[in-house]
């Protein structure tokens, strides 16, 4: 695990890829997937049409993912002809994929919502002759080459390990840490939780792990409160992504509880909480813009008939309260919002003045 030492390059700060692919594949890092000048020229000449099918288009992650896909496809004269928001609806995703299998598109980039339930529709899309690139995971039973071209994913295992190592600093010897887990069968959150537990078992066998699950996002706050009540001396919580983490932060704050937390993804609210030096002490962040760019490059390579690796992975990036503004710029390709910059300045100034006293 890399720590953030000043003066290190971006490659140094990025974590290395710890996890294996959906079929145990070794990762090919996303930056190794590049089109040569000849390939790029051919792609421009063929003017491909691509559709994107997402679980939702309203989250920060989705917006950045789409921005990366659109920009990269555009650079290669490929049109992003449709973006579908499935609103987490499995049936809707199946219907859309069945329609796209006869629509005039050359390729589809999709994030499978359910595990086995959406496998057949994805398979049928590939059988229709369209190229299929998956984001994050392949449903169990689907095979690269036959059923899809490639999976482009963040290293979720690495993110879980990273969150464990960052939380560990806040857990005293013999203490207890909590996991705020997702009660739905979902590959990415599974991998994060398994990795978090494995890191703790290996590096902090003294720590007792407790866990609460939430099936609906609105239950995350209650689950966090229940965990704190049931476990006196709980010293830290890992939430499997940022939205439930912030639900927990609010519920705990209302109950007058302050407890160190780590989570995955640098959403706006999490970034603000970190800038204020609130409960969130560390984030393992995905790089959705970069993932979108990589997915687009893989799609173009597959459309050109070039061999593509079955699993292309992107390392996450560790973020601490001390580099939240810079990390925000790297992850979101945007300047950090004013509130985050000001809070960060205020916190640093107050810390400096404490240090000076």
């Amino acid at each position: 695990m890399n720590s953030q030492t000043p003066g290190k390059t971006r490659e140094d700060i990025a974590m290395s890829i710890a996890g294996l692919g959906p079929h145990g594949e070794r990762a090919v890092p996303a930056d190794q997937i590049q089109l040569s000048a000849t390939d790029a020229a051919e792609a421009r000449a063929r003017r491909f049409s691509v559709a994107v099918v997402l679980h939702t288009t309203t989250s920060d992650w989705s917006k950045q993912e789409l921005a990366g896909i659109a920009a990269t496809l555009g650079l290669h004269s490929a049109a992003l002809v449709e973006v579908v928001d499935c609103n987490f609806d499995v049936e809707l995703q199946i219907a859309v994929l069945n329609r796209l299998a006869v629509d005039p598109v050359d390729a589809v980039i999709s994030i499978p919502i359910g595990n086995a339930r959406v496998a057949a529709a994805h398979r049928a899309l590939t059988q229709s002759g369209r190229k299929l690139v998956l984001l994050d995971n392949a449903p169990t039973g689907m095979l690269p080459g036959t059923d899809y071209a490639s999976v482009v994913s963040t290293d979720n295992f690495g993110l879980g390990q990273s969150c464990a190592s960052m939380l560990s600093a806040h857990i005293p010897a013999g203490g207890a840490a909590g996991i705020l887990g997702y009660g739905i069968d979902f590959f990415a959150t599974h991998e994060r939780e398994i990795a978090f537990r494995k890191w703790m078992a290996t590096h902090r066998p003294d720590v007792t792990l407790v866990r609460e699950r939430f099936a609906e996002l609105d239950g995350a706050g209650q689950a966090a409160l229940a965990m704190v009540e049931k476990t006196p001396g709980l010293s830290g919580i890992f939430a499997v992504w940022d939205v439930p983490a912030m639900k927990a932060v609010r519920a705990l704050a209302q109950g007058g509880i302050d407890i160190p937390m780590t989570t995955v993804d640098l959403g706006n609210e999490v970034a603000l909480d970190m800038a204020r030096h609130g409960m969130i002490k560390g984030v393992g962040a995905q790089m959705p813009y970069d993932q979108g760019c990589a997915a687009a490059r893989v799609t173009l390579a597959a459309l050109l008939g070039l061999p593509v690796p079955p699993w292309v992975a992107l390392a996450g990036r560790e973020v601490t309260p001390f580099d939240v503004v810079e990390a925000y710029q790297v992850i979101w390709h945007l300047p950090a919002p004013k509130a985050i910059i000001e809070s960060s300045r205020a916190s640093t100034a107050s810390q400096d003045s404490h240090a000076g006293q």
Binding site: E11, H23, G24, L143, F157, H190, I194, R197, P309, P310
Partner: protein, 443 residues
């Protein structure tokens, strides 16, 4: 309870309990494999009378092994009700342990994989660490995905696995790795979950996985070759896995290439070593660059470089492919397969130049008739083939007619008298040794 029912239903009809169980087993397997699903078909295929078939089906519905399904095709008169096997009556835990990774999954009783997880692990961490990891992840997966309680464990191991003398008898595993010698791995795993464990070599389970769900689906004769740090092969001949006299069939990495073993010149370690030298000496621009950036190289980098057209890597993988092909050609002539599937980490990353090398050598050295329709392809299943194959091993073992007759009256293989005895035996043996440390609750 279940036993009582069977006994009651049997009064006055079958000649003996064995006959009743034989007919139950026969009918269950006909339904399970889809060979016959309506009462009429079952009567015809089993050559049992209508009353006996009705009685046996009712018993198996009571035991939770079968259920009434959809209406079938009418052949005059009412459409018949189809019987369905309850593949969710139990689950199968499967794991493939390799030199540097472990894979785990849960499958249904048809051997269909429902969930899987892969992670890096070092075999030389010792059997205790691997056992602990398996147990914690299985516990977690079972709880997390709310799958039915397990009926058996299928295990793929990185080395030959001896055939046991009897069903449920544990065999020593991984004698070649020093820290694993004399460690009761299978007994401990079996005791931990209270289910029977069936083990095979990794390459044999991968072969079965490819035959069931990969490139070999529907084929009766195929060879699977695993190219990793070691090189080995599995053979499906006329629909059956060939295990050999001791269970050690397929160790082709031990054939000689000049003075060396094949796996010492064409295995992943050899390829990485040559790539490293070329990177350091600047003979491969791509590898030199990767080495500079990451400070290390793996066989995946070399494969990727070959795909991008790095001449050194294309040539290196092509040469390894030809060496492997030369070892495969005599096998091909011997067994006349319709398909050769190349898997393992070298094949996954090695791409077209490796495959081209293998094809060149096999086609050149095989009899024209043998190579006429022979296909040589790369596996698309990765390590999942080991999991699918391990599930298939358990399905074949649990539902083998002789085995099935031993438990079908009780409704679950966990109640098989021989398995109960083997658990007692294992408990007695293990009690003599120091009791194991309590595992952690979570993965």
């Amino acid at each position: 309870m279940a036993e009582e029912k069977t006994a009651l239903r049997s009064v006055g009809r079958p000649r003996s309990v064995e006959a009743a169980q034989a007919s139950l087993a026969l009918l269950l397997n006909l339904v399970r494999t889809g060979a016959a699903t309506t009462r009429q078909e079952l009567e015809r295929r089993s050559e049992l009378g209508r009353a006996v078939v009705a009685d046996r089906l009712a018993t198996m519905i009571d035991l939770g092994l079968l259920k009434e399904g959809e209406l079938g095709q009418a052949t005059g008169g009412r459409a018949p009700r189809q019987m369905q096997f309850r593949q969710d009556a139990g689950s199968l835990l499967v794991s493939a342990i390799d030199q540097s990774s472990i894979a785990l999954g849960i499958a249904d009783l048809n051997g269909q994989l429902l969930v899987e997880h892969h992670e890096a692990a070092q075999l030389d961490a010792g059997p205790e660490a691997i056992l602990d990891r398996l147990a914690t992840i299985f516990d977690w997966l079972l709880k997390e995905t709310e799958k039915p309680a397990p009926w058996g464990i299928g295990l793929a191991l990185p080395g030959p696995v001896e055939k046991p003398a009897d069903s449920f008898e544990a065999v020593p595993v991984l004698q070649t790795v020093q820290s694993w010698q004399d460690f009761p791995f299978l007994e401990r795993l079996s005791m931990r979950f209270g289910v029977p464990v069936f083990a095979r070599s990794g390459v044999q389970t991968m072969t079965m996985g490819e035959a069931k769900a990969g490139g070999g689906r529907g084929l009766s004769d195929m060879i699977y070759v695993k190219l990793g740090r070691s090189i080995s092969a599995g053979l499906i001949s006329e629909g059956h896995l060939h295990r050999g006299a001791q269970g050690a069939a397929g160790m082709i990495g031990h054939s000689r290439v000049g003075e060396d073993l094949l796996e010492a010149v064409a295995g992943a370690d050899a390829i990485t070593r040559e790539g490293l030298a070329a990177g350091e000496e600047g003979r491969s621009p791509y590898l030199a660059q990767t080495l500079e950036r990451h400070g290390e190289l793996s066989v995946v980098d070399i494969g990727h470089a070959a795909q991008l057209g790095d001449l050194f890597c294309v040539e290196l993988l092509g040469r390894c492919g030809r060496l492997v092909g030369e070892a495969l050609a005599p096998l091909t002539n011997l067994v006349n397969p319709s398909l050769i599937v190349i898997g393992g980490v070298v094949a996954e990353s090695g791409g077209d130049s490796l495959l081209a090398g293998i094809r060149e050598a096999v086609y050149r050295q095989s009899h024209p008739m043998v190579s006429r329709d022979l296909q040589i392809i790369r596996s698309q299943m990765g390590a999942s083939s080991g999991l699918v194959g391990a599930a298939q091993v358990v399905v074949e073992e649990l539902f083998a007619p002789a085995m099935l007759q031993g438990w079908i009256g009780q409704g679950s293989p966990l109640l098989h008298p021989d398995f109960q005895k083997s658990l007692e035996r294992a408990a007695a043996t293990l009690a003599v040794k120091a009791s194991p440390a309590a595992g952690r609750v979570g993965p």
